[in-house]
Each structure stands twice: as structure tokens, then as C-alpha cells.
């Protein structure tokens, strides 16, 4: 009988222990899903250059400097820096990064051997940049940044040159939320 009481007591204690060893509650989780950042490429338009030798430079505001005998005078045509477009979460900051070289090749696409002009885009500074329209829940944040560059002429013949012609190549820029 005594043994039976002890067993019951142990079971009771065990039961009590089990009740204290477990608890439940409801957790919560939150998340803000932000808009993806997107980048639209720009185009550096050097305008008219005279066939010759020299380095042609455009700063990030579009001001041209002509080296050697490449100066077209007042007949430089339409020239402008690349204007890159960024969209994403309004009010967010982003950085622009690129490789160290930012090299491009302008080509006239001539066959069989295109004539090419080598160049480099300028560094984009002023990081971080800010997307406009800081309205929560909208994806209409936008920003632009401008980028000039330089090209080295060495007697290439007259023609229309582009990085998109055969033999040409552009450079890469990357934007990242920071």
C-alpha cells in the first residue's frame, strides 16, 4: 500500500513537472518588401570630331575639351554625357559602382576590319545617390546620374562610330541599395 502511494506520488509529481515544462505563445513576423532597383543605360554622345590625333574629353556635365587637331570649332554637333536612369524604392539610397577601367570601344563597323577608337567613361562620384519620391509602398522612386568620358583619336577615317557597331563595346555600371 505504501509502495503504491509512492508510485502515485511520483506520477503526480511527474505530471506536474510536465505541465511546467511546456508553454505556448503566438509569435509575429514583419517584413517590408521594397521595390527592386533598376538601371537604364545612358549614351555618351561625343558629337562631331575631326579626323586626326588627340584626346577628346567630356566632363560629367557635358563640357568638351578637344586635344590635338580634333577640334570641330562651332560645328561640334550635339554632344552630351550619358544620362543613366535609376528606379526603385522612393527615398532609398543607392551607390553607383563600376570596374576600375570603364573602357569602351567605338567602332565604325567597317567590314572586314572595323576602325575603332578606344575610350574610357569617367568615374561617377557623389555616392550615395538618393531616389526621389519617398512615398511608402510605391515604386516610383527615380534618379539619374550623368557620365562623360574620353576617347583617343589616332587618324581614324571619317565615319559614324558607335559602341553598338560591330567591333565596338560598352562598359558596365552597377547600382546597389546601400
Amino acid at each position: 500500500m505504501f509502495k503504491a502511494l509512492i508510485v502515485l506520488a511520483i506520477l503526480a509529481i511527474a505530471g506536474m513537472a510536465n505541465a511546467q515544462n511546456s508553454a505556448s505563445a503566438t509569435g509575429t513576423a514583419t517584413a517590408s518588401v521594397i521595390c527592386p532597383i533598376k538601371l537604364t543605360p545612358g549614351t555618351i554622345a561625343f558629337g562631331n570630331l575631326v579626323s586626326g590625333s588627340g584626346t577628346v574629353s567630356m566632363d560629367n556635365t557635358g563640357v568638351m575639351t578637344y586635344g590635338g587637331n580634333t577640334n570641330p570649332g562651332s560645328q561640334g554637333g550635339s554632344h552630351s554625357p550619358a544620362t543613366w536612369g535609376v528606379t526603385g524604392q522612393g527615398g532609398f539610397l543607392f551607390n553607383v559602382t563600376d570596374d576600375n577601367v570603364r573602357a569602351f570601344v567605338l567602332s565604325d563597323g567597317a567590314s572586314p576590319t572595323p576602325h575603332t577608337i578606344s575610350g574610357n567613361a569617367n568615374l561617377v562620384d557623389n555616392n550615395p545617390h538618393t531616389l526621389s519620391n519617398p512615398v511608402e509602398g510605391t515604386c516610383n522612386g527615380s534618379a539619374t546620374f550623368k557620365q562623360g568620358g574620353s576617347a583617343v583619336l589616332s587618324g581614324q577615317p571619317a565615319g559614324s562610330y558607335s559602341t553598338t557597331n560591330t567591333g565596338g563595346s560598352g562598359w558596365s555600371e552597377t547600382v546597389t541599395y546601400n
Binding site: T43, G73, G149
Partner: protein, 201 residues
């Protein structure tokens, strides 16, 4: 086995989720560049500036080569009669040229470049010496030529700008000037060079 399957699914979801977040957090694009390269501009001498044969007098005088090629006698009683003082072969150094033209006439240059483009002519602004080159070279003071003028096209329009409107991008222009001949100048052949340049304007 069931537990392992669940674990695998969970891990796959986590990895996929991380990859997705990364892709939306950054974006890249390739920039482009364009340019139009036009014909370079060239300048070719075709004919020297020649004042022909003139005779000095006992007083200072001038001879003006006007832009139509007429040698206009200025003050000082300089005559076109043969021969003695003959300042010919006034020429340019762009390119450098010397001619044997004994007949009076303006210098003539040809410009080539981008069809339809305009250019500017730069003429000497200072007097250019015209030295004695025969009989007794250096044995007489130099004559000088100044007041250079240009006309572009045919018929010429006086000025220092032109348009490459002929053919595939050609235009001619003439250059005249004023020769100063002091009194009793030593007879002989006088020669000099002057620089003319053109550039797109």
C-alpha cells in the same frame, strides 16, 4: 527520411529567398557611346603671291596686290616696267611653297575637308620680310609685305571665312597684300614666306 526531405526543402527555400533578395538589390547595365568623325581639313598652296616686276623710284612707295590679281600701284611712283626689283614668291608655310612666278597675282590656296562645313582663314597680322635672294643676297634691307587680305570662292568674297561647298568638300581662296618698297631699293629678286592657316570654325 521524411525529416531529411523537410530539412532539404527548408534549406532550398532559404537559399532561394536569399538569392532573390540579392538580385533585386542591385542592377547593372552597359553604357554606350557615339561619335561622328569628319574629314580633317587640309590646305594646299596652288600659286604664290607675286608682285611681278616693279621699278623703284627715288621715294618710298607701295604696290598692292588686290584680290582680283591686279597689281595696283600706290604712292611713290612705282612702275610695273621691267625689271630690277622683283619681289616674287611670297608664299605660305602651310604648306611651305616657293614658286617662280614672275607674273603678278595673288596667292591661291585650296582647302579640303568635310562637305558643307565652314572654315576660318588666319592671315599674318604682322609685316613679313621679303629678302634679297640673288645678286647680293642679304646685301640690301628687306622689303616688307603687310595688310594681307583674302577672298574666298570665285567670284571672290573678301573675308576670312568660307564654306567647303564645292565637290566633295573643296574651296579655294586668294590672298593679296601690300608690298612696301623704299626709295632707291637695291635691284634684285626678293623672296619671303608667310604663314596662312585654316581651321574649322
Amino acid at each position: 527520411m521524411k525529416t531529411a526531405y523537410k530539412l532539404f526543402l527548408t534549406l532550398a527555400l532559404i537559399i532561394g529567398s536569399v538569392a532573390s533578395i540579392h538580385a533585386q538589390n542591385t542592377a547593372s547595365a552597359t553604357g554606350a557611346a557615339t561619335s561622328t568623325v569628319v574629314q580633317n581639313i587640309t590646305l594646299t598652296w596652288e600659286q604664290p603671291l607675286a608682285f611681278g616686276q616693279i621699278t623703284p623710284s627715288g621715294s618710298d612707295g607701295t604696290a598692292v596686290m588686290d584680290l582680283s590679281g591686279v597689281n595696283v600701284l600706290g604712292s611713290g611712283k612705282i612702275n610695273k616696267a621691267p625689271t630690277t626689283t622683283n619681289c616674287t614668291e611670297m608664299s605660305t608655310s602651310q604648306p611651305n611653297q616657293f614658286g617662280g612666278n614672275q607674273f603678278p597675282g595673288p596667292a591661291v590656296f585650296e582647302v579640303t575637308g568635310q562637305l558643307g562645313w565652314t572654315f576660318a582663314i588666319t592671315l599674318p597680322t604682322a609685316a613679313v620680310p621679303c629678302n634679297l635672294i640673288d645678286l647680293n643676297p642679304g646685301g640690301a634691307p628687306a622689303l616688307v609685305v603687310d595688310n594681307f587680305k583674302a577672298t574666298v570662292g570665285n567670284p571672290g568674297v573678301q573675308g576670312t571665312t568660307g564654306t567647303l561647298s564645292v565637290g566633295i568638300g573643296i574651296q579655294d581662296f586668294a590672298v593679296g597684300g601690300t608690298l612696301h618698297v623704299p626709295a632707291n631699293t637695291v635691284p634684285g629678286r626678293y623672296q619671303g614666306t608667310f604663314l596662312v592657316s585654316v581651321n574649322y570654325n
